[in-house]
Symmetry: C2
Subunit: 148 residues, 2 copies
């Protein structure tokens, strides 16, 4: 049985960890057969990284996996995945993406769907308020993170 | 004046460096105002990384830049950029991609073009032979890198 609420909450924990480190509050977990095999959060500030968005950090922390494993995974992310993260999801053929919210930022959901990837939007109020507060407090940092 | 041949050769040097480290021979450089501001190569093997494709490594090594800089850059890559790298290029709005070859792997060139990004295909024989030799010698590693 899938428990999207439970795993999304784990992604939110990652987002909060990022915020407590002075970073951008976006988190992600990757689930395989009901178990978290990778988790991470945006580390732009913490590592001076332009590629470690939340989903990318979770993918990296999951380590090198074969295509057959990715194809049985679900990735949870607190925020609608940007073109880079959506591209990584498409590259590795992760078939399902559970999205905390897309109110503060709309990523490549349409492209994911066109690529045959299922997206499930949770409209989670914790995810929305984390990002709304962050964007209003640090708009310049946020714009940097989305290339604007 | 643009000198695509010169900068593509720098990307090929990166690819060769990767190969000499036991890695996958794909390299990339990012050029701004005629100067290389980031260079890198695929580090799947070297760092156990699933996100450090050549273009991603070059982006990471260029460091945190503002959108206005990315929008004046050209990225050179020895191989047609995969969905992840194409997504990163789209995220940051890099307007031009010079591609060594797309004979051994065709990435998201169409999507780049549809996003208003110019692609220039060099059909470079050194790039082709580097990849043909690598793929024939290590097909399993190559398939892992492209999620197959």
């Amino acid at each position: 049985m899938e428990n999207h609420e439970y795993f999304l909450n784990e992604a939110i924990e990652e987002a909060k960890k990022g915020l407590s480190e002075g970073g951008i509050p976006i988190g992600s977990v990757i689930v395989h057969n009901g178990k978290i095999i990778g988790r991470g959060h945006n580390r732009r500030v913490q590592k001076g990284s332009v590629i470690l968005h939340g989903e990318m950090d979770a993918l990296e922390n999951a380590g090198r996996l074969s295509a057959s494993v990715y194809r049985e995974c679900t990735i949870y992310t607190t925020l609608s995945p940007c073109p880079m993260c959506s591209g990584a999801i498409r590259l590795y053929g992760i078939p399902k993406v559970v999205i905390g919210e897309n109110k503060t930022f709309l990523g490549d959901e349409k492209l994911l769907n066109e690529s045959g990837i299922e997206t499930i939007l949770m409209n989670n109020s914790n995810c929305i308020s984390l990002m709304e507060k962050f964007i209003s407090e640090k708009p310049t940092l946020w714009n940097e993170d989305i290339g604007e």
